[in-house]
Amino acid sequence: MKRAFILLLLVVVGWVLADTFSQINFGESRMGDIKQQETVGAYYLNNTVEKLSVANVVTAIVVNYRGFDTLGEVTVLFLAASGLASILYRRKKRGEHDVMILKNSSQLLQTGAKLIFPAILVLGAYVFIHGHLTPGGGFQGGAIIASGFLLMFMAYKDYHVSHNVLTWVESIAGILFVSVGIWGLISGATFLENILGTGTLNDLVSGGIIPLIYIAVGFKVAAELTGVLETLLNFKTEK
């Protein structure tokens, strides 16, 4: 009975969604005439190169046009990390210490992890430093770096990242992001406004505050994701 009801619900939801999206033609341009700029998408495509000299328009939107969203997004991650720590917090009893993974992993994984780990870190850093030029950016780069740490957690059962260091990195990166915003406010412009010179298109140092913010975001995301992984892995059943 309950299952039939659920199936009925799924059919209704599926039908409504299918009906709605059948009205939105796939692959059709909805941005209107790029030169007319009726939609935000057209405006961004048309103005990013000229006004910001940033090659990657998605980065320009994420960090500058809608930078306020990104600040919120970083806050969501920060909150998730804090919430996680608060939900899983237990006062440690004397003599108790964390056991992360009970068994040592295979030789193959250990050697491989040691070999790949530095390369993953470099790749992550490359991705967020070049966020304004190539696909990718702070979030992607941070996630890549955290995946490197995940590999290390899996390979070595007593591999630890100091919580102290993570706290410092994420706090300083967060403060940097907000400070760049407030800097704009203090210098008489608006919050998060691009107050630095934008340089030439496709240079590494171009786009004003955009690479600066994305580097801060990269560090912050990497630290937070690693922190989340570490906290989740620290879980130990009470015997």
């Binding site: 299952r3 659920i6 619900l9 799924l10 939801v13 599926g14 969604l17 299918a18 999206f21 059948s22 939105i24 033609n25 796939f26 692959g27 059709e28 341009s29 909805r30 941005m31 935000v40 998408g41 961004y44 495509l45 990013t48 190169v49 090659a55 990657n56 328009v57 998605v58 939107i61 994420v62 809608r66 969203d69 990104t70 919120g72 997004e73 969501v76 991650l77 909150l79 998730a80 990390a81 919430g83 996680l84 939900i87 899983l88 030029l133 190539t134 696909p135 950016g137 979030f139 298109l201 496709n202 989340v228 906290t231 989740l232 879980f235 059943t237 009470e238």
Partner: protein
Amino acid sequence: MDPILYNKIISVGVYGSAIGLILIGLYAVLVKKHLTKIVIGLSIIDSGVHLLFIAVGFIKGGTAPIFSEKGIELVNQGTAMVDPVPQALVLTAIVIGFGVTAVALSLVIRLYRHHHTARIDHIKSLKW
């Protein structure tokens, strides 16, 4: 093949798989009894919605909205660029989805600690 028919098949495939993911996730959330599976269901719903975002922003024959040297060359030849806004939005949505999943998993761990089970039909202190 007839281009109109081809277009139709592609669009049914793209939208269909995204909506299918949403329905699969919804099914998992509503039917499954294991908390971890419910969390996985939530993530699947999220993936479906994210795919819809990308699908809606796509423009036929469009290239990535990046003005690298190659990109500028393509634009000068008259190639369209896809709508960058949904891509930017989906980045935010993915990060938020990650945050929610992390908190959800931590709650599952907490519930497992207290009840020594993660099955929803064994956890009923409050009314559901």
